[in-house]
Amino acid sequence: MCGTCGCSDGANIRLLTPEGAEPAQVSHHHGDHTHSHDDEGDRTVVLQEKVLARNDVLAQQNRDWLQARGVRAVNLMSSPGAGKTTLLERTATDLAGQLVISVIEGDQETALDADRMRRAGCRVVQVNTGTGCHLDAAMVSQALQSLDPPAGSVVVIENVGNLVCPALFDLGEAHRTVLASVAEGADKPVKYPHMFRTADLVLVSKTDLLPHLDFDLGRCTADIGRISPGAQVLPVSARTGDGCLKWYDWLLRP
C-alpha cells in the first residue's frame, strides 16, 4: 500500500454498480505515483496507543463520577427528528415526582431543545457543537459539572441527531439507548449497524403512525436481534403514551 496517501487497497468503502455487481476495486486519485516510498534515515517509534485513548479516559472519569454520586446516565442517540426530545418531554412530565431527570442536550446550534426540556421541568445543559457531529466525553464532563445532578437521579444525554458518529464516542454513560422512529423505515438497524450494535435498549418511536405506514415491526425487531442480541426493544408512542410504561419501568429500575 502506498504510504503517502494510503491508497490502493480499496479500504472498506464498497460500491455497487447499477447492475448490482461489486467492482473489483474502488480506486481514487493519483494516477502517477511520483513520491518516494521509502523513508530511509527515519527512526520508527512504536506507540501502540488507542486513538481515542483520551476520550476513553475522560469517559471513565465521567462514569466513576456518576457512579460515586449514584446517578445513572443514558446516552440517547437517533437520527434527527426521530422524536428524542418529544419522548423526553412526555417522560419528564409523566414521571414528575417519581424520578428526577436532568438532560444534556447536544445540537449543532440553538437552545430549542433545552428550552423545551426546561419547560417540562428538567434541569438542562445545552451543548452546541458548532460543526461537530457528536458529543464527546470532554463535553459531557463539563456539562455534568454544571448540571450537578442529585443522587438517585437519571441524566439523559440527548446526543446530536446522527446515526453514525455518536456510536464511536464513549461518554461515560451506563446505558446506550437508540431511538428509531417508524417514519424512518424498518431498515435503519441494518443500514446503520455500528450504532445499533452497542445499544442495550432500542426504542421504536412514533408507533401511532403505524396505521399509515408499511413499517414491519417484526422485521425491525428481528434485525435488531441479529445486530445486538442482548438489546431490549420497546415500541413507544410519545403522542398516545402507548408502550411508555415499559420505558418508564426501564428508567426507574435501580
Binding site: G3, C5, D42, V45, L47, L168, R197, I227, P229
Partner: protein, 109 residues
Amino acid sequence: MHELAIAESVVETVTQRLPDAKVTCVHLEIGALSGVVADSIRFCFDLATEGTSLAGAQLKITEPPAQCRCRACGSEFQPDSPIVLCTCGSPDAAVLSGEQLKIVSVSVA
C-alpha cells in the same frame, strides 16, 4: 464526519507523546468493526496535521479483518460485515478483534 475528530486525536496523541519530533509517517490500525472509514481519515489527515509537527507526514493504514467467536457453536469466524453472524446462524458472538483503532507507530526524522 467523525473522522476529522479521529484525525485530530491522532495529531494530539502524537504531539503529546513526541513533542519535539518531526514526524514523517504515521501508521494507523483501523479494525473492520471500528466504525471508522479509512478513506475518510486519509481525506482529512492533511487538514488535521496542517501547522503541526505532523504536517506533510505520510499516512499508512492497516485494516485487519474482524475475528469473532460464536457463543452458540464455539467456532471462530471472520464476519464479512458489521452485522456479526456466525455460519451456524447465531448472532451471539464475542468480538475477539476488529474494534481496534490505534496508532501503531510513527517515523520521525
